[in-house]
């Protein structure tokens, strides 16, 4: 039950030139004023454990301005013993990342992201509210990131599926514009279905447990109204090949693949109301949190280990009773690292059992444990 990150070193990562942070099991609070590097530090943990940043698709942004590479290293404690794993990511834009595990070259990025570091993370950044509020692509990304962190085969299917759909879409346009015949369309249908099925199956298997965890979490966070998440299919597994064939004419006409897991979505419902369309800001925020907690429970259920929780500035928009609940939740976690500008959000009983990491201007000033958690 006890995989946690004990130490992290950042070199040329965002506004950190060279800094080391020590972390404890249980709750860790990063505290500092605005624009000092709290979010950057959480991002660095995620980067080290998963091999890429969840914050931006333009990964070269993580390299400290004026430098040409970034490097992060972590020591991950396994099974609470002295057994530690050393992982490191070296990254120079335009080059393949260098992943090492215990000093030896690590696995491929896909495999590393699926638990290669020995740990997994569930992250919450303020922008993540788009999982509930945003477009279907944001919700699909939530599912795909979670499931890819658990199964390399799923991760590969997601990547290969996107490639196959890209090829099929191009073929559709070429057929429409008279550059290609329909001879190979059935071939690309097959490739699309082969990988799309793996994605659909993976999501289908996850929805039921996720919904249950989500419902439980939102009940505690919000109240007794009945919450649900409902997957909306453009095609089901059983009809997939047939439906894709039937879509040939429309697909050629539009030059794009109209059905499949890349077009699916899920609804987030509270008391029967779709929160994406009709939720208040607060409801959307709490539902996002509940989805993240559901992800935690799902990982725990699948691998028997808690993921490390990385929650950025999560307290600021919550009322007092919810802050208290959250603080308790993080305290009881195997490891949670959260950030805040304001330590007054936390009672002294909580701070007693917490490691505080003070940062300023890209330096880690001190880390102090005010109480040792057993």
């Amino acid at each position: 039950m006890t995989v946690y990150l004990r130490a992290l070193r950042l070199v040329n990562f965002r506004n950190y030139a060279d800094a080391t942070a020590l972390l404890s099991p249980g709750l860790n609070i990063i505290v500092g004023d605005n624009a000092q590097g709290k979010t950057n530090l959480l991002e660095a943990i995620s980067f080290t454990v998963t091999g890429s940043t969840p914050r931006t698709p333009r990964e070269n942004e993580v390299v400290r301005w004026g430098e040409d590479f970034a490097r992060t290293e972590a020591r991950i404690s396994l099974d609470g013993s002295t057994d530690e794993r050393a992982v490191a990511i070296g990254y120079a834009p335009g080059q393949k990342k260098r992943i090492t595990v215990d000093g030896a070259p690590g696995p491929s990025l896909t495999n590393y992201a699926a638990g290669g570091a020995g740990a997994r993370v569930v992250t919450f950044f303020p922008d993540d509210i788009r999982v509930v509020k945003g477009a279907p692509a944001d919700r699909r990304e939530f599912l795909d990131t979670l499931l890819s962190s658990l199964r390399p085969a799923y991760a590969r299917a997601v990547v290969e599926y996107a490639k196959a759909v890209g090829q099929r879409n191009q073929l559709l346009r070429r057929i429409r514009d008279g550059f290609s015949s329909e001879r190979t369309l059935a071939t690309w249908d097959r490739k699309v279905v082969d990988f799309g099925k793996v994605v659909l199956e993976g999501r289908e298997a996850a929805m039921e447990p996720l919904e249950e965890y989500f419902r439980d979490s939102l009940r505690v966070l919000y109240g007794s109204e009945k919450a649900a998440i409902r997957y909306s299919y453009t095609t089901t597994l059983g009809d997939y090949s047939e439906a894709l064939r039937e879509a040939h004419a429309t697909d050629i006409d539009r030059g794009t693949t109209s059905i499949g897991p890349h077009r699916d979505d899920f609804e987030v419902l509270l008391g029967g109301v779709n929160l994406t369309m009709f939720g208040s800001q607060g409801q959307q925020r709490l539902a996002t949190l509940a989805l993240k907690f559901a992800a935690r429970d799902y990982v725990r259920g699948m691998v028997g280990e808690d993921p490390i929780l990385l929650f950025d500035d999560v307290m600021s928009e919550l009322d007092e009773s919810r802050r208290e609940y959250l603080a308790g939740y993080f305290l009881e976690s195997t490891q949670a690292v959260i950030s805040t500008t304001n330590l007054e959000y936390f009672g002294s009983d909580i701070l007693q059992r917490t490691r505080i990491i003070r940062i300023s201007g890209g330096s880690i000033l001190e880390t102090a444990t005010n109480g040792v958690r057993k």
Binding site: P107, S108, T110, N111, A114, P152, A153, R156, E160, K163, A164, G166, Q167, R168, Q170, L171, R174, F179, S180, S181, R183, T184, A186, T187, W188, R190, K191
Partner: protein
């Protein structure tokens, strides 16, 4: 912006057209040639000329050869009833080095890829189908690359041959030899598992 004398610029331009040579490498190689011995440079130029003048595709299998048919096609000891279809001539070298295969080859000249504008007509698929008929081939082993385009090409050829008596097989995308299961990469191991066979 012509920084160097025109012939040097021209050499850099020509070199940077080569695969996996960027502008910086092209410049480095160009200056290496400029500084180097004349014999070496002329030797390179002669080799380039010779390869373009003398080498052409084998008329049967499209492997590269100086003769009308390549050495492999002319080797009557090889099994004439099996054809291994590959994307590029250099794939033949990889398979030959295994020493496991004694049949013939067919070079497709690439893989299906709508994104690159490559249709069956741009590959030597029709020639392969014709050959299978003419030579009464019993088995085709498709050894295209194990990626999206390679696998689609394999699938397309198999679909085209569905109604013919020829047996169509594909390479098992298996585990690297000499490795322990423990160290096999999960994707490879996963695929090897999915492609497991009867013993």
């Amino acid at each position: 912006m012509a920084t160097y004398a025109r012939p040097v610029e021209r050499l850099i331009t020509e070199l940077s057209k080569l695969p996996s040579i960027g502008p910086k490498s092209a410049q480095r190689i160009a200056f290496h040639i400029v500084r180097g011995r004349q014999d070496d440079a002329f030797g390179l130029a002669d080799a380039l000329r010779e390869v373009k003048e003398k080498i052409h595709p084998c008329k049967r299998c499209f492997n590269l050869t100086e003769a009308e048919e390549c050495d492999i096609c002319r080797d009557t000891r090889r099994d004439q009833s099996v054809i291994c279809a590959v994307e590029d001539p250099y794939d033949i070298g990889s398979i030959e080095r295994t020493g496991e295969y004694r049949g013939l080859y067919h070079v497709l000249g690439g893989a299906l890829s709508p994104l690159d504008g490559i249709d069956p007509e741009n590959l030597r698929i029709a020639e392969l189908l014709e050959r299978v008929q003419r030579e009464e081939t019993k088995e085709i082993v498709i050894a295209t690359n194990p990626n999206t385009t390679g696998e689609a090409t394999a699938l397309f050829i198999a679909q085209e041959l569905e109604d013919s008596p020829v047996r169509v097989t594909a390479l098992a995308s298996g585990l690297p030899v000499g490795g322990d299961l423990e160290y096999a990469d999960e994707v490879t191991l996963g695929r090897a598992f999915a492609g497991r066979r009867e013993l």
